[in-house]
């Protein structure tokens, strides 16, 4: 499975959070990889471990209460989980950068746009003040902010939500990273602005040949931008494949349920399919397959045995042996 052009590879990552006697297994053994110039989406509901996976790539999990309980993250031949903090700092913002969900809370209100975009460049690259300023202007231009020279002296509150998110993207781009991790970058934005930001990310990726790890719960967005998709549920990857496989040929009951429950104009008048029950608490996960209490295809063994990944060919995998065997039976 490891191709030559694999940029980063996460293997069996486990991140636990302890509080008192409880241990929340937020990420419970996930593996994924991102190739060069590829957009990979992690999709899932809140609490499924998407953000925790992203933060652990950057070494931003607070320890304690967090704990990396196992796994490896391989980037340029190094295991990021074993790097010393100073080595990690050389990667963070320089080779791997992050765009956060809330542009207002992730920008510092008391610094100008220029200070904040320039910060990463000042730290990682050795360049003079004039050059730095030119670079900031160019970055603002690249992310489509009009009259960038005037904007440099602005503070975050003077910009609209979409503009702030553009500034966040400019900050992430500042050092020409190999990978951008975008954690729900459009969730707080309006649909029209969301469309602009998605298009911006796409064009930047093409011109700079970067990889993007895009984290979202919005399947509509996934269909629009992803090359490959990992569907997460309760700390594990339940299904992975390219975008067409996931949307047209979903093999895991959770993916199938999510797609069927999306409201749309074509379903008017018909009752929506809905997945019963709720997402399990990460501290009290059901035994066996975490989805089995909500699954329409569950059989007794699902509550006992942890499901293994089943290979549907062409790199399309789903973690549901029940459906996999049933399919084989038909053939």
């Amino acid at each position: 499975m490891t191709n030559d052009n694999t940029l980063i590879s996460v293997r069996d990552l486990k991140v636990y959070f302890r509080s008192g006697h409880d241990c929340a297994r937020a990420v419970d053994g996930i593996s994924f990889e991102i190739r060069q110039e590829e957009t990979v989406c992690l999709v899932g509901e809140s609490g499924c471990g998407k953000t925790v996976s992203a933060l652990s790539i950057l070494g931003l999990i607070p320890i304690p209460p967090g704990e990396i309980a196992g796994g490896r993250i391989l980037f340029q031949g190094k295991n990021l989980l074993e790097l010393a903090e100073e080595d990690m700092q050389k990667i963070r913002g320089n080779h791997i950068a992050m765009v956060f969900q809330e542009p207002l809370t992730s920008l510092n209100p008391v610094f100008t746009i220029e200070d904040q975009i320039g910060e990463a460049v000042r730290i990682h690259k050795n360049i003079g003040a004039g050059e730095l300023r030119d670079r900031c202007i160019q970055l603002l231009k690249d992310v489509g902010i009009p009259s960038p020279v005037q904007r440099l002296k602005d503070y975050p509150h003077q910009l609209s939500g979409g503009q702030r998110q553009r500034v966040m993207i400019a900050m992430a781009l500042a050092c020409d990273p190999d990978l951008i991790i975008a954690d729900e970058p459009t969730t707080a934005l309006d649909v029209t602005v969301q469309a602009q930001i998605l298009q911006l990310l796409k064009s930047i990726q093409e011109t700079r040949s970067m990889s993007v790890l895009y984290i979202t719960h919005d399947l509509g967005v996934v269909a629009n931008i992803a090359d490959r998709v990992y569907v997460m549920y309760s700390g594990i990857v339940t299904e992975q494949g390219n975008t067409a496989q996931i949307f047209h040929d979903a093999r895991h009951p959770y993916t199938q349920g999510l797609l069927a429950s999306l409201p749309s104009r074509s379903k008017r008048g018909k009752r929506l399919f809905s997945i019963p029950g709720t997402v399990p608490n990460p501290a009290y996960k059901p035994a066996g397959c975490p989805f089995h209490p909500r699954c329409p295809h569950a059989i007794p063994i699902c509550g006992k045995e942890y499901p293994k990944m089943c290979d549907y060919g062409q790199a399309h995998l789903a973690r549901c042996p029940v459906l996999f065997e049933r399919e084989d039976g038909y053939k």
Partner: protein, 330 residues
């Protein structure tokens, strides 16, 4: 009770509603200008139907909801509920109407009192309005909880013991406790997980069929609105830009803003990369007063007259209205 309206199938009629908020500046808090939060908004909701109000954040959707509930006083215009204009009603006059119009808020975490049990929260309306005491109230409570798909013993538990979806069910039960005929749903599912959203949408639909409820459904999610609503009104910067039956709006949008909004919906079908009509980024802060069309500066078909004069809300088809010079001329 629900079939009282004989010749008037419209449960709510809003006409030329206006609400301006003052901007105060300086030491003496002098009024420096006005934010035209809701300006000349008109719509109707048919008995037993759902009107969808869509628009980007800050366009005035929630202000409209608060005006209808009389949580805010309108500056101008009529709010005609079952043939009576309640726009200028006093608090006292409003009391009997309050139980007819209820609201479900966006955030089920913030809208339930954490110190009150579910049962107390749901019963509060009944208590205040003096409806049904003692045993009968308890019976009613159990019936309500069952109606929204919760077990009766949840009445003695506190909000923090429930998940987001369950809390939203409790909020819906609370809204329905006083037998309303119109329920304002202000983004009721946007704070919920994807797999839970469908549950709540189905619940709202079932309740509408069973109880003959009318909904004003406020949302920014066009996929949900297109599934749920019979009529859709599109708001932009305090004004309704276009209003039409759902099918008509999607098939035949007439206002350029609606067009770009529809093209921006992320469609969960891969490969089908449609042309997105990107809007110019909105550079302006909310201006104090508008001259001309509110969509100016971002409109692809802008003309000189659009900067000068704002056209009224014109009829452009069967039950189809738009606020655009070009649309009106076609």
């Amino acid at each position: 009770m629900k079939s009282k309206s004989k010749d008037k199938p419209m449960i709510l009629r809003v006409q030329n509603l206006k609400k301006y908020f003052p901007i105060r500046r300086g030491f003496f808090q002098k009024i420096a200008g006005w934010v035209e939060a809701v300006d000349d908004v008109s719509f109707e909701i048919e008995q037993g139907k759902t009107l969808g109000l869509v628009g980007e954040s800050g366009c005035g959707k929630t202000t409209v909801a608060r005006l209808i509930l009389k949580l805010l006083k309108p500056d101008h215009g009529k709010i005609i509920f079952r043939g009576i204009d309640i726009g200028k009603f006093t608090e006292k006059e409003m009391k009997p109407i309050r139980k007819e119009i209820q609201i479900v808020f966006q955030d089920p975490f913030g809208s339930l009192n954490p110190r009150m049990t579910t049962g107390l929260s749901i019963e509060e309306g009944l208590r205040i309005l003096g409806i049904k005491r003692g045993e009968r109230r308890k019976e009613r409570l159990e019936k309500l909880l069952k109606m929204v798909g919760m077990s009766p013993d949840s009445a003695n538990r506190y909000p923090h013991e429930f998940s987001g979806g369950q809390r939203q069910r409790i909020c819906i039960a609370r809204a329905l406790s006083v037998d309303p005929s119109l329920v304002v749903c202000d983004e009721p599912i946007s704070a919920l997980d994807v797999s839970i959203q469908a549950q709540i949408i189905n619940l709202l639909k079932d309740l509408q069929e069973r109880l003959g409820l009318s909904y004003l459904f406020i949302s920014h999610d066009l996929n949900v609105v297109s599934y749920l609503c019979s009529t859709i009104s599109v708001m932009y910067k305090g004004q309704i830009m276009e209003s039409a039956p759902a099918e008509e709006l999607f098939e035949n949008p007439r206002h350029p803003y609606t067009l770009s909004l529809l093209s921006a919906i992320p469609d969960p079908v891969p490969g089908k990369r449609r042309k997105i009509k990107l809007l110019e980024p909105d550079l302006y802060d909310y201006p104090m007063t508008f001259k001309g069309c509110r969509f100016q500066g971002r409109c692809p078909i802008e003309e000189p007259r659009c900067l000068e004069e704002n056209i009224g809300f014109e009829k452009v088809g069967e039950k189809h209205f738009a606020r655009c010079w070009k649309a009106a001329e076609k």
